[in-house]
Amino acid sequence: MKMLNIHKDTFKHGVHPPEYKEETNHLPIRQFDFAPVLIIPMAQHIGSPSEIVVREGQEVERGQLLAKSTGYVSVPIHAPAAGIIRKIANVPTISGKMSPGIFLEVFPFSGQEVAEGMPLDLETASADEILKGIQDAGIVGLGGAAFPTHVKLKVPDDKNCEVLLINGIECEPYLTTDHRVMLEQTEDVIHGIKYLMKATGAPKAIIGIEANKMDAAEHLERHIPKDLPIEVKVVPVKYPQGAEKMLITSIMGVEVPSGGLPIDVGAVVVNVATAAEIGRLLPHGWGIQERVVTITGPGVKNKGNYLIPMGTPLRYVLDQVGISDNISEVYMGGPMMGMAVSNLDISIVKGTSGILVFNDEDVVSRNEEHPCIKCGACVEACPLSLNPSRMGLMAKFKAYDRMAEEQNLLDCFECGSCSFVCPSYIPLVQYFRLSKSIVRKRKSAKQHA
């Protein structure tokens, strides 16, 4: 077997947070039990929420359509289990907003067979049919962003997709779902890539993997048929390499123009777990019902990677894995970009890549914010070469519009590297999130005026 070389090129700057992946990266994916009641919010993806097509009291099969998409940037939702619709009501979500949702009481003695849908044959399906199939399966980016995958795969008429990048970077500390998916769902990944190449018209695909997952890279390399134009590239470990723009620069050596999309440089980027889901669902015409979630952190007793049905309440999940008595914070996603949970009654949704539980002693105490001493650590960390120090100061003086005009604020994708390195514990990325939303609001207000 040929040895995989580590690709030398990389993006500028970035940070090296401790990885904490060794706690779960060797643990095989385990199936999670069905919770007695699944709570399924309609707002699980970016775009317009799905519209409920079932009524209270109705019995549904596993995989049956529960809600349909409400436009182009929207996807349907399928029943994660066979059961009965107990209630339709507003349910909490991670953002704090309420969303219409379905309470599905799972049939305890059902075999939970998945209802067959309309299979989509790789050989005969057209590109547009595959895109439609991906939308109908309810697939969104499983890396965490939950952006509808079919939208991002649609190559504009005046552009060409020259390479399909499969994102197996998983640069967030603690998370190991993509790692396990690459090792255990290898055939699905390869099959999904075939669908994706056909949908985008990409002549070749590159799977980008960080050097801390050599076993996954070698495993894929062994299993990819030699006649397929799919290449595995290993890149050095650096956060935030899993961000689309950074991955493109590391692997292709080009930069996505400011305000542009990957397709502007001829690339489409898809998360590896999303590719696996496409490869698994489309041949059967199934909708997405479950996903792999890393549950870890110092406060978790049975750490691991679990295949969890969508809509499983977080409270049930934590009860099953066991948590310590002095938990302090629970995050959904990784520690760099994930969100703190304010309510344990939210559910596992399509975008949930990880659940982290920190105890009192693990939580960063940021009570004391010191003044910026212009040390330049954030400037050296920002992968986009922005000036977080200066922007932080401008945000304090509410100069939001100038931040956008002079400092490229809107390019910031909130990776958090600046806050991570700041010795004065200034919540820089939080300032930028707020500033961005204020600038966007002002812009849209201007357009409507």
């Binding site: 993006f11 500028k12 940070v15 947070p17 401790p18 723009k245 930069e255 123009p257 400011s258 305000g259 409270r315 934590l318 009860d319 948590i323 938990i327 302090s328 914070e329 629970v330 995050y331 520690p335 760099m336 994930g338 969100m339 703190a340 949970v341 304010s342 344990l344 920190f358 939580v363 960063v364 940021r366 010191h370 003044p371 910026c372 001493i373 212009k374 040390c375 330049g376 400037v379 050296e380 992968p383 986009l384 070469s385 922005l386 000036n387 120090s389 200066r390 490229n408 390019d411 958090g416 806050s419 991570f420 390195v421 700041c422 010795p423 004065s424 514990y425 919540p427 990325v429 999130r433």
Partner: protein, 338 residues
């Protein structure tokens, strides 16, 4: 079991470590060997000058915070650093009341009027020292000999001079190595310079210990080695070229490196994060600018030493350097959008 109140915080939920306070504390540690050495070479008077400088800076910081109704920031170690640095730039027999004036000006004018830590344009210690140099030109250029026999048993009378009175000096030595070079064209041996067996300001004498402290900070990534390297390189290159051109007229780069306040300036003052540029390119230019100015002032200027003014001018330049040498933002073209 799950009834605990959860805390909420914004991401990232992990941080790298090294708080501002820890960095500041380590700067103090790094200065201690050189400060102790100055007590060894100059005795009790050095201890009094350093102590007064630190105390006056702390008291000023405390008082100004109280008066302006801000949170008292004396515990962040930055005033201690300013005091130590100020003390180390002063002559051993400097009157204590003048030291206290310097401490007050360093914190008040150097830091507080700009808005406190992080907002000052100039290095506060150097602001204090510059004002002292303008106000007390004689006192600040009156040196005593190093390693005098009675240094631990007696205090020079000038140190204890009453406020606003002309200090009386018991013994004064001729000159520092730099003024000896400037006015008499006498070159002090490099070994004496490096290990501090010479006259001069308190903390400037042992280049070796200062460099050791600086390297400690750089290894712990609490000071930017690029600034120090850029200054020292430009000093070596420029003075080396001049020395090669005419060894009679221009001193060797070694002499330049180890004399005066260059080491202290390059390791602890120019590297002060607040007054230096943020970007790597800016830092290199900033260092080179300071290094060249040091050589120019020392050789052609009217003063024997130029490190202080070189760094103050560098401080003034650094916000502009950040503007001029702004790195290209990812995904934008080199030329600025119209």
């Amino acid at each position: 079991m799950l009834n605990k109140t959860l805390h909420i915080s914004t991401s990232p939920h992990i941080v790298k470590g090294n708080s501002t306070q820890v960095i500041m504390k380590n700067v103090v540690y790094a200065l201690i060997p050189a400060a102790l050495f100055s007590v060894f070479t100059f005795g009790l008077s050095a201890l009094l000058v350093l102590g007064t400088a630190v105390a006056s800076c702390l008291i000023t910081e405390y008082a100004l915070c109280k008066v302006s109704g801000r949170k008292v920031t004396t515990s962040d170690y930055s005033a201690v650093i300013t005091g130590l640095l100020l003390g180390m730039t002063l002559p051993p027999a400097f009157p204590l009341w003048m030291v206290a004036c310097g401490g007050f000006i360093a914190i008040g004018l150097g830091k507080f009027v700009f808005g406190g830590l992080g907002y000052n344009v100039f290095n506060p210690a150097l602001v204090g020292r510059a004002v002292l140099q303008a106000a007390f030109p004689v006192a600040i250029t009156t040196w005593t000999d190093a390693l005098s026999a009675d240094r631990f048993t007696s205090i020079p009378s000038s140190v204890l001079a009453l406020p606003f009175m002309e200090p009386v000096y018991d013994i004064t030595s001729g000159a520092t190595p730099l003024s000896a070079f400037k006015f008499d064209h006498h070159i002090t041996p490099s070994f004496d310079l490096a290990f501090g067996m010479i006259g001069g300001s308190l903390g400037e004498t042992s280049s070796f210990l200062i460099l050791a402290g600086g390297v400690y900070l750089m290894v712990r990534k609490m000071a930017n080695w690029k600034i120090t390297a850029s200054i020292l390189t430009s000093v070596i290159v420029l003075s080396g070229a001049l020395h090669l051109f005419n060894a009679e007229l221009y001193p060797s780069p070694l002499f330049m490196l180890f004399s005066g306040g260059l080491m202290l300036g390059a390791c602890f003052m120019a590297t002060d994060m607040v007054g230096s540029p943020l970007t790597t390119k800016g830092i290199i230019v900033y260092g080179a600018f300071i290094g060249i100015l040091v050589v120019v002032i020392r050789i052609w200027g009217g003063l024997p030493e130029g490190v202080m003014y070189a760094i103050l001018l560098g401080n003034a330049l650094s916000p502009q350097l950040d503007q001029w040498l702004k790195p290209r933002v990812y995904g934008t073209s080199k030329k600025k959008k119209s």
